[in-house]
């Protein structure tokens, strides 16, 4: 028996024909189910959005007055001939996996996810399904994250070093997600004050309004010198403009999964790097695929071809999302 697919890829992105909605479309659509508010997943211009309340708050913060319907975690919503529910992906506060059920066949769209609980975002949990559409930003076996407590200790040690040298520590971090995760990890105290760039403060405020416990810290005054021994969190493109504490200089670090490999670190500017990712690592991806029980896996976002080939070699019906099935 051949059934119509639950999800297909059309010219605007992942589409559910039975429910007539897109998930994270890359062009404006009538109805977008949005996994999370990062710009590569949530583009402006769609007529209506469906998201968790956390993501909805971020969407309004980012896109202004958009029409967003919110859906609580795990609550099924019938859309046309499909049933949709949202489940934590652990990627950032409010970030969701999308479960789509059509006539008893269940597909889960992972969105961006990480399997390690970070204490701030709702923790990822596997959602049982027949088909799993998984991101694989870090879908190679060389990517294995250390526990975030290790990374936090590493960052803290660096901050102490920088402060001891009379310099100013700056971490370039995306204003939504990574910055708040760092705030959460580092707010307990260091050798000096923790500050954030105004752009990060605004994102944090939006999350606080949505009910998340993002630590409130002083906001950097652009152009003014930073207090002694401070650590500043700022969007990557703004770090160079920060005025260090008197007599010192800036020491800038990055926090990202891309910092895991020396070669990548060098290609991305060669500064100090902390491997702190909001995406699943290789063991996380494999564990997630296994935990869903899915027999069909479609890979997207990252090393999609290699990860699909790997899963196929393990006996799964796996291929890159949008690729033709193997003959």
């Amino acid at each position: 028996m051949t059934r119509a697919p639950v999800l297909i890829v059309d010219d605007r992105g992942l589409y559910c024909p039975k429910g007539d909605f897109h998930i994270d479309p890359w062009r404006p659509v009538a109805r977008a189910v949005t996994t999370h508010a990062h710009s590569d997943h949530a583009r402006g211009g769609s007529a209506a959005y469906l998201a968790t309340s956390g993501t909805a708050a971020m969407l309004r913060h980012r896109l202004g007055a958009v029409q967003v319907q919110t859906l609580d975690w795990g609550v099924p919503l019938a859309i046309g001939g499909a049933t949709v529910s949202l489940h934590p992906s652990g990627h950032l506060p409010g970030a969701a996996q999308v479960r789509v059920e059509v006539a008893g066949e269940v597909w889960v769209v992972s969105g961006d996810y990480k399997t390690e609980a970070d204490g701030l975002a709702e923790a990822w949990a596997p959602v049982a399904c027949h088909g799993f559409i998984t991101e694989c930003t870090f879908g190679l076996p060389v990517y294995r994250w250390a526990p975030q407590s290790d990374v936090a200790a590493d960052i803290m040690a660096w901050w102490h070093e920088v402060a001891a040298a009379g310099d100013t520590a700056v971490i370039g971090a995306y204003s939504l997600g990574k910055a708040q995760r760092l705030l959460h990890l580092l707010a307990a105290g260091g050798p000096g004050p923790l500050l954030v760039h105004p752009v990060i403060a605004a994102s944090s405020e939006a999350l606080v309004c949505a009910g998340y416990r993002v630590p409130r810290v002083p906001v950097l005054t652009p152009g003014a010198a930073v207090p002694q021994r401070a650590l500043v969190l700022a969007p990557p493109q703004t770090t160079g403009a920060i005025v260090p504490a008197g007599g010192g200089r800036l020491q800038v670090a990055a926090a990202s999964g891309w910092m895991a490999l020396r070669g990548t670190r060098r290609r991305r500017g060669g500064g100090t790097g902390f491997t702190l990712s909001d995406h699943a690592d290789w063991p996380g991806l494999n564990a997630a695929v296994e935990a869903t029980g899915a027999t069909s896996v479609r890979t997207t976002h990252g090393y999609a071809e290699a990860f699909a080939r790997w899963l196929a070699s393990r006996g799964l019906d796996a291929r890159e999302l949008g690729a033709a099935p193997a003959p």
């Binding site: 190679l140 060389v142 990517y143 490999l261 670190r265 790997w310």
Partner: protein, 522 residues
């Protein structure tokens, strides 16, 4: 080891040297001495030799991780570095297994791996991988495959070390730059006391002996030893450290890693004065060109060290095991030096300067001519009774060239005194060809004796010239032999000097004109 990996990242990422010094100093402060030594060794590039190949490591990691070759290839293409790729392919160690081994312990394990038969190294590598986090594994893999590189200069490392321990960064830099084995080096060895415990004594002046040695007084007052024209040095083992100084006030320790063994063989608080000689390992002949090349070379290859190993030719002993010997006469110091060297293992890169056994100036003068055969450049004469402060070395060099020639004429001067000049000949076939007329160099007693012999044995005379039977053989020194077509020999010898009188040598045992012609072409 993970701390080292993190440190290397920080050092590589640091914006300038001032930051690097701070980063390294801070890291050193956080470490126990055993790990400090290793950190200093590794960041300055003192890494062990390769124990396994990259291909072996790759095969073992792929197998242990149970990954297909294409996936390892894909990973390698992304990571760009084999050691790092393989390090990340295996699971992180379980936290329940306790803390990962520290740096010193990891290095000991690496050493153990290298120590076993190459076929048996896999098990040790796999065991090491299971206990190290990936970041540390990457460093271990580089060390295993010999691809580990230092990240800072010894100068920078010493600045950091000096911040931590106090002391003279320059002296530490020299120490760090020299090859040393972190496994056997203690922190104290790397941190000389700030009071300059490793500074040399002043070098005893050495002067060329221009005049006849007789002008120095009785030969018995002077100790004579062979000098090889090496690099004058003081080698200092003190405060756990080891430093070799040249007279120009520069330590040259790093240039002579082949002497580092002495740091462990010599008693603590010992200072030796001598010369460093590089020689051919088979013939033992000194290689002055190799010495010059080594001083000029930026890096010393293993081949360079093996082709021309250094040895410390010891001339004087200034301190021995904490005793300052400077007030003792040179003869006593020299005896102690001989005893010290005799106690060291035969392979030790040191030997006392060979004493000239001949007594008396004429015998020594004759010996001087044979010095070249020993590879010696000159004879060093030191007054036996001199304390160190009064020690002065007279450098007695043989003339650049010499021949054995026979006396054929002598010239009488004014009055009844000794003869004024002597003419010498070499053989050309069966004939004797005069080649040199010399008056200088013969000691007074020899000159008197020879004059008496000439007078008693004159066979013919024309004017002041006395002809004698060709039986007395002399060594004649000269600086050059140049073409002189109008002379019978065709050659003129410059800066002639009578070196010595071979009373025991037969006249058929002299040089030939061909020999002289060969010398003229040199």
């Amino acid at each position: 080891m993970k701390g080292l990996a993190r440190l290397i990242d920080r050092l590589e990422a640091a914006s300038d040297d001032a930051v690097r010094v701070q980063v390294l100093a801070r890291h050193l402060r956080s470490l126990a001495d055993a790990d400090r030594v290793w950190v200093l060794a590794l960041v300055t590039g003192h890494a062990p030799r390769r124990a396994v190949t990259g291909a072996q490591l790759r095969a073992w990691a792929s197998e242990a991780a149970d990954l297909p070759a294409w996936l390892v290839d894909d990973s390698l293409a992304v990571a760009g570095d084999l050691a790092e790729t393989l390090a990340h392919l295996l699971p992180r160690p379980d936290d329940d297994d306790g803390p990962a081994p520290g740096l010193a312990e990891t290095m000991a394990r690496l050493r153990d791996i290298a120590a076993v038969d190459p076929g048996a190294r896999k098990a040790g590598v796999l065991r090491l991988w299971t206990v190290l986090p990936p970041e540390a594994r990457a460093v271990a893999n580089r060390l295993l495959t010999g691809s580990f590189r230092g990240v800072v200069t010894p100068g920078l490392a010493s600045r950091a070390l000096a911040e931590v321990t106090g002391g003279d960064a320059a002296a530490m830099a020299q120490r760090l730059a020299a090859p040393w084995d972190p496994a056997t080096t203690r922190m104290a060895d790397l941190t000389p006391e700030p009071d300059g415990a490793l500074r040399p004594y002043p070098f005893a002046p050495a002067r060329p002996l221009d005049a006849a040695p007789e002008t120095l007084g009785p030969a018995g007052d002077w100790a004579a030893a062979w000098h090889f024209g090496g690099l004058r040095v003081q080698a200092i083992r003190r405060g756990g450290g080891w430093q070799v100084w040249a007279p120009e006030g520069e330590p040259v320790t790093a240039r002579f890693p082949d002497l580092d063994l002495l740091a462990r063989l010599l008693p603590e608080a010992t200072v030796i004065s001598g010369e460093i000689v590089l020689s051919d390992p088979t013939s033992g002949q000194p290689l002055p060109a190799a010495l010059a090349a080594r001083m000029a070379r930026k890096t010393l290859s293993a081949r360079h060290l093996a082709d021309a190993p250094a040895v410390l030719v010891a001339h004087d002993l200034l301190d021995l095991a904490g005793d300052a010997l400077g007030l003792m006469p040179f003869a006593t110091r020299r005896d102690r030096l001989d005893m010290l060297c005799a106690r060291l293992p035969s392979g030790a890169p040191i030997r006392p300067a060979p004493a000239v056994v001949e007594e008396g100036w004429p015998n020594r003068a004759r010996a001087l001519l044979r010095g070249r055969a020993l590879g010696a450049r000159s004879m060093w004469l030191t007054r036996r009774a001199a304390p160190f402060a009064a020690t002065e070395v007279m450098d007695w060099s043989p003339p650049p060239m010499s021949i054995a020639a026979v006396l054929i004429h002598a010239e009488v001067g004014q009055g009844p005194g000794p003869l004024a000049a002597f003419t010498f000949a070499v053989r050309d076939g069966v004939a004797l060809v005069p080649v040199a007329k010399a008056s200088d160099g013969l000691p007074p007693e020899d000159r008197a004796e020879l004059s008496a012999w000439v007078r008693a044995n004159t066979t013919d005379r024309f004017g002041p010239v006395r002809q004698v039977p060709p039986v007395q053989v002399f060594d004649i020194g000269f600086s050059a032999a140049t073409a002189a077509p109008r002379r019978k020999s065709g050659l003129m010898l410059e800066a002639l000097r009578i070196l010595s009188w071979h009373r025991d040598r037969a006249a058929d045992d002299i040089d030939t004109l061909d020999t002289l012609r060969a010398l003229s072409r040199m």
